[in-house]
């Protein structure tokens, strides 16, 4: 049984979403005009096995975050089928679920519980998480006094210590100083040695080349290419450069 199976998955967004007042619904009701849909993902199929590290590359708006959202179970497909067999730990955005007025320690406990960890386990892990994050001196200060790098370290530390079957990471590892980045890389390495799987979204070709076994290139919701990271990135970067060159005034 694969860890993740995407079977002809399509995801659409209504265009008017975001500005949803009663008026919007009424107007839509009475007007004959069909509301248009935005296709975030079109007919995507792939599988991911346990223990793999899969990288997803693509430009802004390619559907990468939507794809991660669907793996995490946050969004449902409009067509096709998504199956995920395992506990997912998501690190989709820097400190989602963190609150600036709570202390580092309070945020740590809250976040771990939201990720599905029980009270006893949190108490056991608490010291380890604080130690790894390297913010022990500030752990009882309100989070708003933390720098964004410190918040990230805490968030990453919580996520990696909750030992999920699958860790989702949405291009946030670029934050933090190089020492912490190296520490993160080590932690991810040992997480993978213990059998953990990683689904990783990034703009940065270098990180994907270094960490991933396999890569997927998305563009405008379509799966352009899948396979060896070097090969996929070569194609992807080639196109990006062509696009960038075309956009340059001559």
């Amino acid at each position: 049984m694969s860890l993740i199976e995407f079977d002809h998955v399509t995801k659409t967004f209504p265009h008017a979403a975001g500005r949803v007042l009663l008026r919007t619904h009424l107007l839509r009701w009475f007007s004959s005009e069909k509301h248009t849909l935005f296709y975030a993902l079109k007919n995507i199929s792939f599988t991911m096995e346990r223990g793999e590290c899969l990288g997803i590359v693509g430009r802004n708006g390619a559907g990468k975050s939507t794809l991660l959202g669907m793996v995490a179970g946050l969004a449902k497909p409009n067509g096709g089928r998504v199956r995920v067999n395992g506990r997912v730990g998501a690190l989709l955005e820097l400190g989602s679920g963190f609150h600036p007025d709570l202390s580092g320690a309070e945020n740590l406990v809250l976040n771990a519980s939201l990720l599905g960890i029980g009270k006893k386990r949190i108490a056991e892990l608490f010291d380890q998480i604080v130690e790894f994050s390297g913010v022990a001196d500030f752990i009882n200060e309100p989070l708003r006094t933390f720098s964004s790098g410190m918040s990230l370290r805490l968030a990453f530390s919580v996520a990696i210590h909750t030992e999920p079957d699958l860790l989702l990471i949405d291009e946030i590892l670029g934050v933090g100083d190089s020492a912490f980045q190296a520490k993160c890389a080590d932690a991810l390495e040992s997480y993978r040695r213990r059998g953990g799987s990683l689904l990783f979204v990034s703009h940065s070709g270098a990180t994907v080349r270094k960490m991933c076994d396999r890569a997927i290139w998305l563009d405008h919701g379509e799966l352009m290419m899948e396979g060896n990271p070097d090969a996929v990135l070569k194609e992807y970067e080639g196109t990006s450069e062509a696009v960038a060159a075309a956009a340059q005034p001559t």
Binding site: A17, A75, K76, S96, L110, S113, G116
Partner: protein
């Protein structure tokens, strides 16, 4: 699939709300006490001094029996309704069962409720009739009110994601309900043909039951209790399924 501890996570969220609210408020708990007392004073002045002829016994206490459950109901309902929009980060980014969010928001108002119930009981002991065995009904009644508000919060928080005006509907409904719940008048002056309908409003039923217990020293009628139970749990069940259905598309609308 999320395999966490529902109770613990809910408690963490409640604590979060609570800490945030009271850390930034120097008078904190004091406001919880002051608000119903001022309302009681105003209503007492108007319906005892300005419009005399009011025959309700223990009038100020009777008013408080109305204000305390009504306050909790209206604030918890309004907070519950906006809870999902207040936690967009959680809904869109953290795979946690989302029912927890409106329910935690209702529970974080319970501290407020607890303080006000304490005030009510102290004043009844000081100025009202003596404590009696029927007081044992009180926890049951408050629990039913919480169940009812949780149901409403589930329904309205989910609807509010799709139709952002739901919040204004709730505000208006609260204004109207203040008059339709017997907060400052007694149940007995309501014309008989409307009474049955009144009893289906859980908040009105709760107010009546509280006055029965605290001021008249008798158990609330079993017909009233059964209607209150039915409507409260009915709302919770409906809310649960409505939420389950509507949450499938939260991601797109937030």
């Amino acid at each position: 699939m999320w395999k966490g501890d529902y109770t613990f996570t809910t408690r963490c969220l409640v604590e979060k709300d609570f800490k945030i609210r009271y850390r930034n408020m120097s008078l904190g708990m004091f406001w919880s006490l002051l608000n119903p007392l001022i309302m009681m004073g105003v209503l007492w002045f108007i319906f005892v001094k300005v419009f005399p002829g009011n025959t309700m016994p223990y009038y100020p206490l009777a008013v408080l029996c109305g204000i305390v459950p009504f306050n909790f109901f209206s604030i918890a309902w309004a907070n519950g309704t906006s809870s999902l929009l207040d936690s967009v980060g959680l809904v869109k980014r953290v795979p946690v069962p989302r029912q927890i969010i409106p329910i935690a928001s209702v529970f974080s108002n319970c501290m407020h409720l607890l303080i006000q119930v304490g005030l009510l009981l102290v004043l009844v002991l000081a100025f009202g009739p003596r404590i009696n065995i029927e007081w044992l009904w009180l926890p049951v009644l408050w629990a039913l009110e919480i169940v009812f508000v949780c149901g409403l919060a589930l329904i309205f928080s989910a609807v509010n994601v799709y139709v952002r005006d739901a919040r204004y509907f709730v505000e208006s409904a609260n204004n109207i309900l203040f008059w339709l719940v017997p907060v400052f008048y007694s149940f007995s002056i309501i014309p008989a043909r409307f009474r049955e309908i009144y009893m289906y409003n859980p908040i009105a039923a709760l107010v009546m039951a509280l006055r029965n217990i605290l001021l008249e020293g008798r158990a609330p009628a079993s017909s009233l209790l059964s209607k209150l139970t039915l409507v409260s749990f009915g709302t919770l069940v409906v809310g649960w399924f409505v939420f389950k259905k509507l949450q499938e598309r939260f991601y797109e609308y937030l």
